[in-house]
């Protein structure tokens, strides 16, 4: 009988997604372990990422910021021996629920990495890639969607006359904007940016930052950056992480002028270490 009894207290404690429509991604008690390295990457992290705003994750190397980012589109699934507990909800839907189609999830949650990684194809085909996977092959429709994505990524004027050239001839900054165009061509809800400007020169970096500012009117953006000034410039909300824990999460304006936690203060003022 005992085995079948219902624990009412546990039911009351059962986590539920937020009803707040302004919350896009909700993380609750998320922990991540890597079995192979015996490493605990994330410890009981909880936070709510607001819709159509830019949220930055900052913290020293190995603090878990990229690991947390990769939980949002289940990129950690690709790492053998990673064990995850807790919850991640996207628009109230559990990202780790059984039956979730990971390909669909990754279409909804696009990702751009540190080094620009265009395919060795034409500029046009790079942006068309995700659209073709979705079954879109009509040239007229593709032309329109590709132009829209390239315009949104502030790249159209620079490449409109050479769409059939190989994407690898573009500069690093242009390649990164092309990868962003590729990510937004399929109209995701969330854009994850993992150190998107760390390999770029200052001018290309500013272009990416300007692009982030424009894109947030349509997408929820989460950016991981080592560059604190970049986080201060581009984000509305900032999360400071250390040793796999979320130390402080709040409005960027407040966090960079009057942080609540002394650990955050030490890190952003360069007293860390």
């Amino acid at each position: 009988m005992k085995n079948h009894s219902i624990d009412v207290k546990a039911l009351k404690r059962a986590p539920t997604p937020s009803q707040n429509a302004d919350v896009c991604l909700q993380v609750e008690n998320l922990s991540l372990h890597y079995l192979r390295s015996q490493n605990v990457a994330l410890h009981d992290v909880s936070l709510e990422i607001p819709r159509q705003r830019v949220t930055a994750f900052i913290g020293p190397s190995g603090c878990g910021k990229s690991s947390l980012l990769r939980c949002f589109n289940r990129m950690n699934d690709l790492i053998e021996g990673s064990i995850i507990s807790g919850h991640v909800w996207l628009d109230g839907e559990d990202v780790y629920a059984r039956g979730v189609d990971v390909a669909t999830l990754r279409r909804r949650v696009g990702m751009v990495f540190q080094s620009p990684n265009p395919f060795p194809k034409s500029i046009y085909e790079n942006v068309a890639f995700g659209l073709r996977i979705q079954g879109l092959n009509k040239k007229r429709v593709l032309d329109e969607l590709i132009e829209r994505a390239l315009r949104s990524a502030a790249l159209w004027d620079e490449v409109k006359d050479r769409l059939n050239e190989n994407a690898l001839v573009l500069s690093g900054g242009q390649q990164q904007r092309l990868v962003i165009a590729r990510a937004i061509a399929v109209e995701p809800e969330v854009l994850l940016l993992d150190e998107p400007a760390s390999s770029l020169d200052p001018i290309s970096t500013l272009r990416i930052e300007e692009l982030i500012y424009e894109l947030k009117t349509r997408y929820t953006i989460v950016i991981v950056t080592h560059n604190m000034q970049q986080a201060a410039r581009v984000s509305d909300m900032t999360a400071f992480m250390n040793l796999g824990r979320l130390v402080e999460f709040g409005e960027t304006d407040t966090l960079f002028t009057n942080p609540r936690q002394s650990q955050t203060e030490d890190y952003i003022t360069g007293r860390y270490g």
Binding site: Q229, T257, N258, I268, T269, G270
Partner: protein, 240 residues
């Protein structure tokens, strides 16, 4: 975050720049205190020689203002300070302006002393002037001390004290007006004393501004335009 002010940055050079900037502000504060004290002595003793020293020394204060402002700009541009470091740079930049204005008020008082020295002696408002002068000089000293020690309780006391100066100023003005009515002969000298009185009241306001910057620096709270009741609650919460 009060204690963190004293922790060292990874960059020793950055530490040195912040320390130098703050020390220059306190040095300027010391000079301004001296100017105010000399200006008041020249006024009460009607000593034009001492007044002349004050007027000449104002240039040094103006130069210090430019130097500290430049240090603040350089740190903002090169270091992009955040949190308590950012608040320190902002507080120093704003307090420098207040100190420079106090220097201007001291010069103005000294100029009134020069004019008074040319007039025949009269029974004026020396008592009122001495009282307010001591009061605002003490506020300035406490404000600068609270900056040096990052003592937020002391800074709140200074801000709360400004109301008392305003009351003393109103009483002193009324007293001088009565004196002018009673003794019209004294008008020419009392007018200069009224200007000096006005200058002292402004010194109290500038000392209050500096104390408000200390509160912002330590607590991250902007208390300008806050009502005395709210400030008292802040002081209580700080003490408890």
């Amino acid at each position: 975050m009060q204690g963190d002010q004293h922790k060292q940055h990874i960059s020793g050079q950055f530490n040195a720049e912040l320390d130098a900037m703050k020390n220059h502000l306190l040095e300027m504060g010391g000079l301004v205190e001296q100017q105010l004290s000399r200006a008041m002595a020249s006024l009460l003793l009607r000593d034009s020689g001492q007044a002349e020293v004050v007027v000449r020394a104002d240039r040094q204060i103006n130069e210090m203002e430019l130097q500290i402002d430049e240090e603040c700009s350089r740190i903002l541009a090169r270091r992009q300070p955040a949190a308590s470091d950012l608040r320190l740079v902002l507080a120093v930049a704003k307090s420098t302006t207040d100190l420079e204005r106090i220097g201007d008020e001291a010069t103005r008082i000294a100029k009134q002393a020069t004019k008074l020295s040319e007039l025949p002696p009269s029974a004026g408002g020396a008592l009122e002037l001495r009282k307010i002068s001591n009061h605002v000089a003490s506020m300035l000293r406490e404000a600068l001390d609270s900056f040096a020690r990052l003592d937020v309780s002391k800074a709140i006391d200074v801000v709360l004290d400004d109301g008392a100066v305003d009351v003393e100023y109103d009483a002193a003005m009324s007293s001088l007006v009565r004196l002018m009515k009673r003794d019209p002969e004294s008008i020419s000298s009392v007018v200069h004393e009224m200007w000096a009185l006005r200058g002292l009241e402004r010194v109290g306001d500038h000392a209050t501004n500096i104390a408000e910057q200390v509160i912002y620096l330590v607590l991250g709270r902007d208390v300008r335009h806050m009502k005395p009741g709210e400030l008292q609650s802040l002081l209580k919460s700080k003490e408890s």
